[in-house]
Amino acid sequence: MSTIRDKLREYRTAGYYTEFEYHWTMAVDLDRCTGCEACVVACQAENNLPIVGEKLMRQGREMKWLRIERYWDGEYPNARLNFIPMLCQHCDEAPCEIACPVFATYHNQDGLNAQVYNRCIGTRTCAVYCPYEVRFFNWFTYTWDEPLEQQLNPDVTVREKGVMEKCTFCVQRINRAKDLARDEDRRVADGEAQPACAQACPTDAIVFGDRNDPESAVSRKLEDPRAYSVLEELNTHPSVVYLKNARKPLAGGADDDHHGDESDSRASREGARPTWERGHDPRSGPALREGETPSLQTQQADTVA
């Protein structure tokens, strides 16, 4: 009887949800992002994304798992350009996951929002439910011209028509790092698994790592008071966290509230206890002063040594 009760309690919780093995998280420092799109190109090359061509691009059918969104502040001439790299947010409570009738998208043990290409039947409901619009549909079977197919990544599937796809946090790299670590009977060290975009970023604006490890570079980023997630009010609990672009307000006063709301948002975040702070006390780590970011290289050296 007690086992039934235990089982029932277990089944009333959300699968692996309370105990991710790793909780892969990405922190994007918008202050550092220059909008160079090196990450976009790296993603395209790593994940066998097709170049759809001008015609399909105009129809709004480009395949870009990672895109740089541009938003203007103020009016010309007193204007400023802001960049937000937008990719699959790997939401812990992803709207797309309930939508799939065939479990083609689900949450895996690493906190990743997985997409199973073979299982997908292409109802496209997940893309409709996704508020970030980071899911891409294979409207056609795309092909690569003669020499170009040579550079396809053998670790990544080439998708056929009628299949939904999206950013995987370069799951092939994560798995390779995990395999290596398992062979050596240890956990994956911080910085060992890097998606292509983080690796390509010249300004280290993209930091990737395991949130379950309080010492990891990404965990420290999360404690930054500038941290926020996009469309927080939808309660999707994304795994991609952005660090606010904390610049001087424009002279025109278009974004006067930039500085004033920081203490407020900090307070409300602590009250709401967002997902990335679950499992460990966010205040246990060393408090960072604003602007101070642990460099990825030193962090990596610490843990590996």
Partner: protein
């Protein structure tokens, strides 16, 4: 009751055998006009539905005009339209059976056929919609070597279950209601047709025991179908309402869709009744009383529909969230489809107000026009809901537009041909007017004066 009996037949009551003759003759005598119409509609279905679909299967869903923003398009809005059209026949028939309204009896068979065929057409649109139609069976719960089962948490799985149940229940409902009539056709025909109908009627003889059992079973079917029909369109609306998309994420969507479905379905019945009167010669059985009652129903539904529309826009405006407000604004004024929105308001909310006049309600030709206008309005309603919400969700950087491609428009046209083809086949297989139930509404064959 007897007052209703007098009203039900505009040109005097037929006798029992005349009912048999009229209905079965309409079934068995086929003019060349019928064949021409059948060939034209089947050809249209092949050319406009099947051919573009095959093309789309070969090249991919990219043949349709959908893009990254608008991942759903006319296929889904048409799916909802056809499901909606299916919502009056069986539901109305079941409700009127339970409430023992006699005027149901001469129109319900065709109304239920409409339910069945529009449901089939809707199911076709699911197939057309999905990216890999050859794997669509994965949505059914069946044991498989992959040991993978469908996700019962998904609103699409609710759809699968609801449509499966609705298709089963309405087929059973219409078939069981026609059993005695199949027997009547069997008795009147010879040769191959007699043998086919003998099998189809399962050896029905009309004994008191059989009637008794059928009466019980039929009432149970009716009782089961009513909550089912209401649930089906609620579930379809949750495909939308369970998303976070501004403009779709409304709690009012379930009653909105159910009301809209019955509305468009009832208008569809009026259209079909006009056709039956005109081309099948059932003017004797479908008369003033029927059109008057259906029109009253249309009027009530149009008022409810208008009210819910006002509610929806009001809550968008009153919500204060910019996403919701802007979605409403985009739909009714700023977007490329604002004129479709107002066309739908004109056809579905303004035009039906003329039904307050009894002279218009009982005029078949005017009613035909109004019913077609209502269904055009309902078709565009679904399109506007999809096409004005999805291209603009949250992130302004990826705002886009959506316009259906030729393939989509052609398949939409073809779907009407499919429905027409199925209905044309129906009128030559099923007695389109229920023989035994029309007889029930006639003055009973009694020696003594009726005491009731």
């Amino acid at each position: 009751m007897s007052a209703t009996r007098e009203l039900m037949f505009d040109h005097g009551q037929p006798s029992y055998s005349e009912v048999n003759n009229d209905v079965i003759n309409a079934l068995t005598t086929t003019t060349w006009r019928y064949w021409v119409t059948l060939v034209i509609s089947a050809g249209t279905a092949l050319l406009f539905f099947v051919a573009p679909w095959i093309y789309q299967i070969i090249v991919g869903v990219g043949a349709a005009g959908m893009n990254r923003n608008a991942m759903w398009g006319t296929y889904l809005s048409n799916f909802i339209f056809w499901i909606g059209l299916s919502h009056s026949g069986t539901l109305l028939s079941a409700v009127l059976h339970i409430t023992q309204s006699d005027w149901r009896k001469s129109i319900y068979r065709s109304a239920e056929a409409m339910t069945l065929f529009s449901l089939m057409t809707a199911a076709m649109f699911v197939m057309v919609h999905v990216g890999r139609v050859w794997f669509v069976h994965w949505t059914f719960p069946f044991p498989n070597p992959m040991e993978l089962w469908p996700n019962f948490r998904s609103p699409l799985m609710f759809d699968v279950m609801a449509i499966l149940t609705y298709l089963t229940a309405s087929s059973v409902f219409i078939y069981m209601g026609s059993l005695p009539d199949f027997a009547a056709v069997r008795d009147r025909s010879t040769g191959l047709r007699r043998r086919i109908y003998a099998v189809m009627c399962f050896g029905w003889r009309g004994t008191a025991h059989e009637w008794h059992t059928l009466g019980w079973a039929y009432t149970f079917f009716a009782v089961l179908v009513i909550p089912l029909a209401v649930s089906v369109h609620s579930i379809v609306s949750w495909d939308f309402a369970m998303s976070t998309v501004p403009g779709l994420h409304h709690t009012i969507f379930a009653p909105y869709f159910v009301c809209g479905a019955i509305y468009s379905g009832t208008a569809g019945i009026v259209t079909v009744m006009w056709m039956l009167r005109k081309f099948m010669g059932f003017g004797r059985y479908i008369g003033q009383l029927h059109i008057d009652n259906l029109s009253k129903l249309l009027l009530v539904l149009s008022l409810i529909w208008t009210y819910i529309n006002i509610c929806e826009n009001f809550s968008g405006w009153y919500s204060g969230t910019s996403f919701e407000y802007e979605a409403i604004l985009y739909r009714v004024w700023e977007g490329p489809f604002w004129w479709l929105y107002w066309e739908m308001i004109l056809f579905c909310a303004v035009v039906p107000l003329v039904l307050f006049s009894r002279r218009i309600r009982t005029n078949w030709n005017v009613m035909l026009v109004i019913s077609i206008l209502i269904n055009i309005g309902m078709l565009t309603e679904r399109f506007v809901i999809v096409a004005s919400s999805l291209p603009r969700k949250f992130l302004p950087d990826v705002f886009g537009t959506y316009f259906p491609s030729l393939v989509e428009i052609s398949i939409t046209v073809g779907s009407f041909a499919i429905f027409t083809t199925l209905f044309l086949l129906f009128v030559k297989i099923f007695p389109a007017v229920s023989i035994y139930e029309v007889k029930e509404t006639l003055n009973p064959l009694r020696k003594r004066e009726a005491h009731t």
